[in-house]
């Protein structure tokens, strides 16, 4: 590969696709990458697309804002092969010196990003909720914003010396931009290293789990507070009464109450229902970032100081053991009437 010195600042996006469609998180990142380019000046968006030879996907990338597309069209080389993808990216980075790379915080995306960060020795901020350019010490830098700890805080993290500056962003944070007919350059790339450290035997799609959480009208979120008061069953019962689905916090996942694909928050999924009911969820920012677009948030928790009450529209302070059975009965009565 030739050692091109790019004449424009490079902002790259690692692209994922599924069933002949670009993922929403990837398109959202391209939109954000365009904004960063405008803030940087003299910069361009480059997408890296592997495991497809579809001209339609390439055109879509360009129409959504890519100036260049690095295309590895060899179909045997997919995003599932995270080790090969990382080697390819590391090699491209070494020859083209991008300033910034954005990755979707999907299970595969975050793994590939973490591998690349270790291989090139640079920083990687996980699960960002915002990204922008700011001049710090006379140098334009990527500011990565993540939900922080304790109370209502966000943390801004930078990578002052090492390049590229890298960040992962969860699905649902940035919306895809409107596509506009534009032209762009397609540059074919090939993985040089094809020795894999693991063999993929089968990719299984469990369709019953693919109900898009983002489309749920009613969502009941189970938190750690349920562990000491009546247990998780009450959350399921309430969801059944309201015709909603049950999700949970990271502790709820670790307690085995919910499957991983139902975990909400910074390191999980994002929901935006008409009604979100939280039970025993304290509402730390890493959870809150996953529910902020809910229309109405109704929170029940025993701690009146819990941050959840700052983001809730309606709150009940009380022992879940006392409140839940009564709440479920009353809601059932209402639902049966209608």
């Amino acid at each position: 590969m030739n050692l091109d010195v790019e004449d424009k600042i490079q902002v790259w996006v690692w692209v994922e696709h599924h069933l002949e469609k670009l993922t929403r998180v990837s398109l959202g990142l391209i939109g954000k990458a365009r904004e960063l380019c405008q803030q940087l000046g003299n910069a361009e968006v480059t997408s890296v697309l592997v495991g497809t030879d579809s001209p339609k996907l390439v055109t879509e990338l360009i129409d959504h804002g890519s100036d260049k597309v690095y295309l590895a069209s060899n179909l045997s080389f997919t995003t599932f092969q995270t080790d090969l993808c990382a080697h390819l990216m590391t090699r491209l980075i070494q020859s083209h010196r991008p300033e910034i790379i954005l990755w979707g915080a999907t299970s595969l995306g975050q793994e590939t990003a973490a591998r690349v960060a270790a291989q090139v020795g640079t920083g990687l901020t996980a699960h960002c909720i915002d990204l922008y350019i700011e001049k710090i010490n006379e140098k334009p830098q990527l500011v990565t914003v993540v939900a922080g700890w304790g109370g209502n805080l966000t943390l801004k993290i930078v990578c002052p010396e090492k390049r590229p500056q890298m960040a992962t962003v969860k699905p649902g944070i940035f919306s895809p931009p409107e596509p506009v007919k534009r032209s762009g350059e397609v540059i074919p790339v090939e993985p040089e290293d094809t020795a894999t450290s693991f063999e993929i035997i089968e990719v299984v799609e469990e369709l019953e789990e693919t109900f898009p959480l983002e489309q749920a009208e009613v969502v009941v979120a189970a938190g750690w507070g349920l562990s000491t008061s009546g247990g998780f069953q009450a959350a399921e019962e309430l969801a059944e009464v309201l015709g909603g689905i049950v999700v949970g916090t990271r502790p709820a996942l670790d307690a085995g109450w919910i499957p991983a694909e139902r975990m909400i928050g910074q390191s999980g999924k994002t929901v935006a229902p008409q009604l979100l009911v939280t039970l025993g969820v304290s509402g730390a920012p890493q959870f809150a970032t996953g529910v902020l677009n809910s229309k109405v948030i109704f929170a029940v928790d025993k701690n009146p100081q819990a941050p959840i009450f700052k983001i809730a529209d309606i709150g009940i302070v009380g022992d879940l053991q006392d409140v839940l059975p009564l709440l479920i009965n009353k809601l059932r009565a209402i639902k049966e009437k209608t």
Partner: protein
């Protein structure tokens, strides 16, 4: 053939206290001292998996953590689960590390061990939750890495068949030892320490290793070895005009339901 396993764990604040942790306004790091600390929840699944593999093949389980002096407690807890040996990476030189510098220090320590066939970690912590450390650790050790493992089956003594979770389901992958595997909470149900385990743990030594003990290049660990820096901490803007009711359950439920009806979400 015996299997020597290393389990990397992290001490995290108890989930009951997650929202009460404050940040040091200058350093930007967490002030955890006031929150009771435990082994990260999915770290226990990694320990359990290691113990089950040892039961089947014989061998040893060594647990490693990096953290301040109080992180020793997490190792004591692991020893009570019947782990064979414990190593505490504890040195001011390791402090304030980001994921890259953490993975690097763990990699130095594991390379120092006489022998290891399998390295197990949890897939993410309940505090920072990046999930990056196991992957970067594998990169530094130049070992295969399988992330988000829901199930781990030995096909033979050196071959693993793993169900790796992804958004749409799972991927069945095959790899060979030595390898780094980051497990999910789905993989097993961790055991609780029993009395004999706790008694035996008292007699086990916890090795304390500093940067010099693992031959760490000081420019690659701790704050010095961390490419990322905290730049600013600011208020999280998510406030709504909340109505919070407190009182007898009957009363507050009626008031809440009344509001939900008015908001047309019932």
């Amino acid at each position: 053939m015996p299997c020597d396993i290393v389990v990397c764990i992290k001490q995290v604040p108890h989930p009951d206290y997650l929202s009460k942790i404050s940040l040091d306004p200058i350093r930007g790091t967490m002030e955890r001292e006031r929150a009771p600390a435990i082994i990260n929840l999915v770290g226990r699944n990694a320990l359990e998996e290691a113990l089950r593999i040892r039961e089947r093949f014989s061998g040893s389980v060594t647990v490693i953590t990096m953290g301040p002096p109080q992180a020793r407690k997490a190792l004591e807890e692991a020893l009570a689960m019947d782990v064979d040996a414990a190593i505490h990476l504890c040195d001011e030189a390791f402090a304030r590390a980001d994921t890259l510098a953490t993975a690097q220090a763990l990699a130095y320590a594991i390379s120092k061990l006489e022998h290891s066939d399998l390295i197990l970690c949890g897939d993410a912590t309940i505090d920072s939750g990046t999930g990056q450390v196991p992957i970067q650790l594998a990169e530094f050790l130049k070992l295969p890495c399988i992330f988000d493992a829901d199930e781990l089956v030995f096909e033979d003594e050196r071959g693993l068949l793993i169900k790796r979770r992804w958004e749409q389901g799972y991927i069945k992958v095959r790899t060979k030892l030595p390898a780094v595997i980051a497990v999910t909470a789905k993989i097993n149900q961790p055991r609780l320490p029993n009395v004999s385990g706790i008694m035996a743990a008292i007699r086990k030594e916890i090795k304390k290793w500093g940067a010099a003990d693992i031959g760490a290049d000081l420019s690659r660990v701790g704050l010095e070895g961390s490419p990322t820096r905290f730049f600013q901490i600011s208020e999280f803007h998510a406030e709504r005009q909340g109505e919070v009711f407190q009182g007898s359950p009957e009363e507050v439920i009626n008031m809440a339901i009344d509001r939900l009806v008015k908001l047309e979400v019932l």
